[in-house]
């Protein structure tokens, strides 16, 4: 693998013109990745899965070079019809289109980014990989007091003939004071056995609101990793919802630094898994100042040989008095071969806090099934109704009505 990495990286530097700073940025990150390699079980965050193994079993040998000069066809990509939206289209890690057609032009700014020469915040090796191999990345700034009229849908797609490839994409966002942005991530997998690596940075200024809905619904044989790094100033709100379902493997990491008072973070998720799919959510909510709040709810419905892992961490620094942190995960195992693992972690250094977590896993409640059947439902209907009710709880946490309905339709969940 190392051989391939080096060849692909050299080729990349040769084929594309980078500024000195960019080059430096990519080289530093590349070295760091070579040093660390793909994460394995020895890392606490990867305790329940070994990405090396997952790549080996599902992809085989990866290649890392992408031709960013090539124009990818985007008109074949099926867009969401249910709601009007702005869009960004990414194909094989390359941003092909940025279109804010519903918005006032002077309220949104798109800047090319160079990357820092040194690694300021060494998050993990996959971020290094992303920085080394992604194309030029940009920063999208939402101006003060501006709320986008329509949501932004980011389509992540692959070319039909792309295979056994690692694709990397990165976008940085800045929400100025009192700005508001809704993002929906949608996956359009046109090919198999690729490793998609997605990295978002969010800077949330005072009183801004970010809502990010990640929807991985359609069945595909790709391996995916996504990292959201959210920095929140006073009174800002971030809401993340993850529907984790279709991919072979998907790990979503959410890191929220609550840096300003009265900021809050919400992370909600559904694992709806079948076959041998293995999905994870890893959250780090860092309460760093007084009066911040976080809430996390993750529900899992696991069929066949699927496996879900939820590692949710609440960190409270000694300054962060009056923190309110809550975390709950419930899982229903529907098959004797399915598996649910959780590591709900609390690390607390302040005493005037209200933090709790809970986790439960088990089978569908037979008594509830019996109750429903005695009212005339057959087993299948009873099971569906119960699962429906079980999941509804999380979906109700979605604060955006339009998107809530979209997700309900996708899951076939009724009220």
């Amino acid at each position: 693998m190392e051989e391939q990495l080096k060849i692909d990286f050299e080729k990349k530097l040769k084929d594309f013109s980078y500024s000195d700073q960019e080059k430096k940025f990519k080289e530093t990150n590349f070295k760091e990745f070579l040093k660390q390699g793909f994460p394995n079980r020895k890392l606490e965050n990867w305790k329940f899965s070994d990405l090396n193994q997952i790549i080996k079993n599902n992809i085989g040998e990866l290649t890392f070079y992408n031709d960013y000069k090539k124009e990818n066809q985007i008109d074949k990509i099926e867009l969401i019809r249910e709601l009007e939206h702005n869009r960004i289209i990414i194909v094989d890690g390359k941003i092909e289109k940025i279109d804010f057609k519903f918005e006032e032009k002077d309220k949104i700014e798109v800047l090319d980014e160079q990357g820092e020469e040194t690694i300021k915040e060494n998050i993990n090796s996959l971020i290094n990989l992303n920085n080394a191999f992604s194309n030029k990345f940009c920063k999208i700034i939402i101006k003060k007091n501006y709320s986008l009229k329509k949501p932004l849908v980011i389509y992540h797609s692959t070319n039909k003939n792309t295979q056994s490839k690692n694709t990397n994409s990165r976008i940085d966002f800045k929400l100025e004071e009192n700005a508001c942005l809704r993002i929906i991530d949608i996956f359009k997998d046109n090919s198999e056995k690729n490793f998609l690596n997605i990295y978002y940075n969010f800077e949330l200024d005072k009183s801004s609101i970010l809502k990010n809905y990640k929807i991985d619904k359609s069945i595909n044989n790709n391996v995916k990793y996504s990292y959201n790094n959210v920095k929140q100033q006073a009174n800002s709100i971030s809401e993340t919802f993850i529907l984790s379902s279709g991919s072979k493997f998907f790990k979503n990491e959410i890191n929220c630094d609550l840096l300003g008072q009265h900021s809050s973070a919400f992370v909600n998720g559904i694992f709806d898994l079948d076959d041998e799919n293995h999905h994870e959510i890893k959250s780090n909510i860092n309460h760093l100042v007084e009066n911040t709040k976080s809430y996390q709810l993750v529900k899992s419905v696991l069929e066949k040989k699927s496996k879900a892992v939820y590692q949710g961490k609440i960190f409270v620094s000694s300054e962060a008095q009056k923190t309110d942190g809550y975390q709950l995960s419930n899982a229903i195992l529907l098959s004797e071969n399915s598996e649910f693992n959780a590591k709900p972690e609390l690390e607390i250094y302040a005493d005037d806090v209200k933090c709790s977590h809970g986790s439960s896993s088990g089978s569908l409640d037979e008594n509830s099934i019996f109750y429903l059947m005695s009212r005339g439902l057959n087993y299948k209907e009873a099971k569906k109704l119960l699962i429906n009710g079980f999941l509804l709880d999380v979906i109700e946490k979605i604060t955006d009505e339009e998107i809530k309905n979209l997700i309900k339709d996708l899951l076939g969940v009724k009220e």
Binding site: E336, N341, I348
Partner: protein, 478 residues
């Protein structure tokens, strides 16, 4: 220098009759030291081989570094692995020589004067010597076929039992400290309860013959044969002074069909002074195997001492319908650090486990609950309930909860709850309005917080443990 030591060793290799009272094995960890320990204890060849095998393994093992409390690097070549019981001339002669703080604590706990002396190794009047008390107990036990003796004695008198069970729960290859113990353990307790016997009294290290100076590498082995029951108490509530900084004990419990073992610990080793200087590192490996069907192992611990506590009394639920329980109170104050919890490994069908953990941190201390619940695919219809509560006092301390939950069986249920809170002003005010001083009030509230666990302790322990909970938190209010 090293050659000289080996030279010395050779001299003693065949000289058992030497007055061992003043003797220490030379510093350092090597095969010769292990052979020396084995020799001096007149161990059979198989046990020496076993120790050497552990030592071989040790060479490739690394000290674990994933636990939260970090400690200065230990130089294993700079430790004594065997020191014979001290002669009285090295020990304090009267209580006047002791730290007045320690005496004050004894007073508060209501520890009798002679007991205070015994705890500090001061020669005690023969009448009060617990050894004589122990002898009477021993007769009662022998009548029922119960074996309760030091593990060294058991090696000599019941080698078949020791050989059959030693290392079956904590294998030689386990982890660094456990393996270190296997290579160099000095002494400890051995208990065997024959089939169908209900041990008529709480067995305790307290009454153990030759109880003193079992050393830093203690080894305990308890076997409850079919249908038997035993309750075992380890430690005592009074602070224990000890010369050795590192303690790496191994405790193995084995419960056969329908047997039950209840193991209670009160750990109150020297925690170091207010500034965190000194204090003991308690790195103990405790593990129970519910080998037979319908067997049960229950761990109860009150951990208030040591500078660093690092232990996870665990249950391997192998037999169908077996039950594992873990009740824990851990209190850290000043600069103490604790990383403690349990592992419940469900292998058999219909196995049940319950974890109740109460952590209290005050001062500059740091406390972590770390636990694993693992229900394997074959452990049908099993369940676990976990409740971990943490209480923080002040914002210079930390309280952490790190549970690992693995459910691989759809017929099994796991429920986990955890909370972190502080003592509310209202509660304190209410108690103070009724006439309690702040420390009493905190003691009362904390005891309430710990009630579920305190209830699990044997009667004679419970009252003292309650007092201990209050005392451990002294100086943390205000």
């Amino acid at each position: 220098m090293r050659d000289k030591q080996i030279e010395d060793l050779k001299d003693y290799k065949y000289g058992f009759s030497t007055d061992i009272e003043n003797f220490k094995a030379p510093k350092g960890l090597n095969e010769d030291v292990i052979k020396f320990i084995s020799n001096i204890k007149k161990e059979p060849q198989w046990l020496l081989d076993w120790r050497l095998k552990a030592f071989e393994r040790l060479k490739v093992l690394k000290e674990p570094d994933w636990q939260k409390p970090k400690y200065p690097k230990i130089d294993y070549q700079d430790l004594y692995y065997y020191s014979a019981p001290k002669s009285f001339k090295d020990k304090p002669k009267s209580l006047d020589e002791l730290d007045p703080k320690l005496l004050e604590t004894y007073q508060k706990l209501g520890i009798p004067l002679n007991e205070q002396k015994r705890l500090n190794g001061i020669a005690v009047d023969a009448v009060f010597d617990s050894v004589s008390v122990a002898t009477t107990f021993k007769e009662t036990l022998t009548k029922q076929g119960i074996i309760f003796c030091s593990i060294s004695e058991a090696v000599q008198k019941h080698p078949e039992l020791v050989k059959k069970y030693l290392g079956t729960v904590i294998p030689l290859t386990d982890h660094f400290f456990a393996t270190l113990n296997s290579a160099v353990f000095t002494d400890g307790s051995f208990v065997y309860i024959p089939p169908g016997v209900r041990c008529p009294m709480e067995l305790s290290t307290y009454f153990r013959i030759n109880a003193s100076d079992t050393g830093q590498f203690e080894r305990t082995l308890i076997i409850a044969d079919k249908g038997s029951y035993v309750s075992y108490l380890e430690g005592c509530t009074a602070p224990m002074r000890d010369e050795n900084q590192l303690h790496a004990a191994n405790v193995e419990l084995i419960a056969l069909d329908d047997a039950e073992i209840k193991y209670s610990t009160v750990q109150n080793w020297y925690p170091g002074d207010k500034d965190g200087i000194g204090g003991i590192y308690n790195f103990v490996t405790k593990r129970g195997l519910c080998k037979g069907k319908n067997s049960k192992i229950s761990w109860t611990q009150v951990e208030t001492g040591s500078a660093i506590t690092w232990k996870y009394p665990s249950c391997i639920l192998k037999g169908d319908n077996s039950i594992g329980e873990f009740y824990s109170i851990a209190i850290t104050n000043n600069h103490q650090k604790a990383d403690t919890g349990t592992k419940m490994i469900h292998l058999g069908k219909n196995t049940k486990s319950k974890i109740i953990s109460k952590g209290i941190s005050a001062g500059f201390s740091d406390m972590t609950y770390r636990g694993l619940v693992d229900i394997s695919p074959k452990a049908t219809n099993s369940n676990n309930f976990t409740q971990c509560d943490s209480l923080l006092m002040g914002n210079k301390c930390g309280a952490h909860t790190v549970p690992y939950i693995k459910n691989k069986n759809s017929d099994s249920n796991i429920a986990h709850e955890a909370t972190t809170s502080k003592i509310s002003e209202e509660q304190l005010h209410y108690c103070q309005q009724r006439g309690l001083n702040p420390e009493e009030a905190v003691g009362l509230i904390v005891n309430g917080f710990c009630k579920e666990v305190l209830q699990q302790l044997p009667m004679e322990f419970a009252v003292e443990a309650q007092k201990l909970v209050g005392i451990s938190l002294e100086g943390s209010v205000g």
